[in-house]
Symmetry: C2
Amino acid sequence: MAGNRRDGRLLRGERSREAILGQAVSLASVHGLGGLSLGRLAEAAGVSKSGFFAHWRDKEQLQLDAVEWARLQWIEHIVQPALQAPAGVRRVLALHEARLRFYADEVLPGGCFFFVAQVEFDDRPGPVRDRIAKALAGWVGFIEQVVEEAVALGELSADTDPGQLAYEIDALGEAAVTHARLLDRDAAYRRAHRAVLQRLRALATDPALLPEDPS
Amino acid sequence: MAGNRRDGRLLRGERSREAILGQAVSLASVHGLGGLSLGRLAEAAGVSKSGFFAHWRDKEQLQLDAVEWARLQWIEHIVQPALQAPAGVRRVLALHEARLRFYADEVLPGGCFFFVAQVEFDDRPGPVRDRIAKALAGWVGFIEQVVEEAVALGELSADTDPGQLAYEIDALGEAAVTHARLLDRDAAYRRAHRAVLQRLRALATDPALLPEDPS
DNA sequence: CGGTTATACGAACGATCGGTCGGTCTTATA
DNA sequence: TATAAGACCGACCGATCGTTCGTATAACCG
């Protein structure tokens, strides 16, 4: 059974599996999880089309793993950096800023994997939809949790509705993708940032914790 | 040339053309403009696949007309009703509310044609993308214009940045689609509504013009 | 009536889709 | 060294994609 970690066959497989997944997330951020063609993915990953089926039973399994892969990438690029900021209102802003930087840096050529995936699967029942919904719930729940922390620390008004604020932060960040790509790139990121900053300053008990609003 | 309006052939053609376009916008709101297959569209519209090419040269022409059709539908369902509200801050809110009602009523099975189209074409250059970008610019510009009117009427603070507020209103409304479909439907619409209401009440010179915030 | 025009159709095209199959090469195990 | 297992490939499958073509039908015009 070779559960041994030294099995070169498994190592090689795992390496190409990850290479394929990375390409899949990149391509899916552009063409969507459905528009992701195995042929194009094969070419992009430098393997043969039939080579996939050594790793995944069908396209749906690949899609499921791609969602998980994108989730880990999201944690690595947005959640982890934001945890460097001190807990409280500054961490809430850091979370939003890390997201906008992720978009602006074009880590993914399509801007945002989850944005595309959400729009594509919000009306297509199945296991992929469920995984995407779960990932979205986890993300919004995490924002909510960071907000609650800020409230508990007394840095945000006690009247703050964490679920409400989490929705607003997610919405204001998400829309930056399309606005940046279809209209004015700089204006979109600037407004997405300023909207959350203003909102947080209005709710903060000590606005001095936050940068000033460059009006 | 029979420019005469009484030509039964042209009338019949126009009728089926519009029937096809309506179905195209509906289907595209679910599967996207690219995922819109001519075969499925033919079946849904009750015509043959090859019948399209009497009306459109290729799929791209159909997509362009679908964007225009969706734009007119948007004006009819969102812009026109909002114009019933008195100019000023109440009209700004009415615009947002009409949009949320459009989503909640599921006028389109996929929720929002433009949302899907924007995400799909924001990174796919071509005439379709240009049309979508133009439509988005027109919509955001219209919000901006209604906001400016409210400022000019003295109903919104003179400090209000219309472009900034327009971005926020669009973002908060747009995200309601996926949040409603993937997470909690009622919560999504409630939060999308409340977010804009709170924002407007904070900027309004006379908050009594607006409904109270049901906190 | 004949001739023209526009709508709409069925059949077929090449291309591409997701997926299968038999086999090759490499690596681990007995 | 023989055998099993895993990664990977080329060839191929049926289905569906967007599109073309030739034709049938119906409405207009002279």
